[in-house]
Symmetry: C2
Subunit: 138 residues, 2 copies
């Protein structure tokens, strides 16, 4: 039923709501390879497909294509095909993509900077519940 309130019209979103468009964007960014791709391109340099493929250790062709297509569709990067032989395709962040890439890069930097503290927290946590699940009724 129609609530009589058009969120799109009012530009008023609750990111916690299940059908909030910005939340969908958040979920896109949360894709397994999305953040790494954004970080790789964050400096504004154009990169070729296999260049990205090599940089994102472990990514498959399919997943990289899928990730890049999704980012292109959202307007975060451009895909330029040069009709040469062999083909040459370059990916480059748009202005919009550059903004989000900067933020994601800061998160990546934070991860690296905080990794020691995080590892310590993990160790402490794992030690607190050190008792292996007791075979209570097994």
């Amino acid at each position: 039923m129609d609530t009589g309130f058009d969120h799109e019209k009012h530009g008023c979103y609750d990111v916690f709501s299940r059908d909030c468009p910005p939340r969908a964007v958040l979920e896109l960014i949360a894709g397994k390879w999305t953040m790494l791709a954004l970080v790789a391109l964050a400096d504004g340099r154009a990169m070729r497909f296999n260049e990205l493929r090599r940089r994102l250790d472990g990514v498959t062709q399919k997943m990289l294509t899928q990730t890049l297509r999704a980012l292109e569709r959202e307007g975060l990067l451009t895909r330029t095909v040069y009709p040469t032989v062999p083909p040459r395709v370059e990916y480059r962040l748009t202005a919009l993509g550059g903004e989000i890439a900067k933020l994601v890069t800061r998160i990546a930097a934070w991860s690296t900077a905080s990794i020691d503290e995080i590892r310590a927290a993990r160790a402490a946590y794992d030690q607190r519940l050190h008792h292996t699940p007791r075979p209570l009724s097994a």
Copy 2:
């Protein structure tokens, strides 16, 4: 066999490498509910379990517990149990968690601020390829 190079010792990480610990942290943050939980707690206020549950529209008990436990383990939030009846459990960001929550909140804000531009990009993209749009995300 020791490779002779201890990354942990040197504090030298490549976030693109497949067994880079910071990359694992990045993947934690990329969890479906992690960013939303961080944003919900970003203001530093403590929140109770069901309070978070209501806020994160669509989350199940299992997923919320799992998300919060993971964040607790990484040292991003604390879980405080008050031995009352009925039980009362409060979740609150740590200083470390506050840092990342601020960054994630900025990403959420960016999503909301950019949604119109993104929607326009999507429409343009879908029109360029004159066949059925890919159902990557609604």
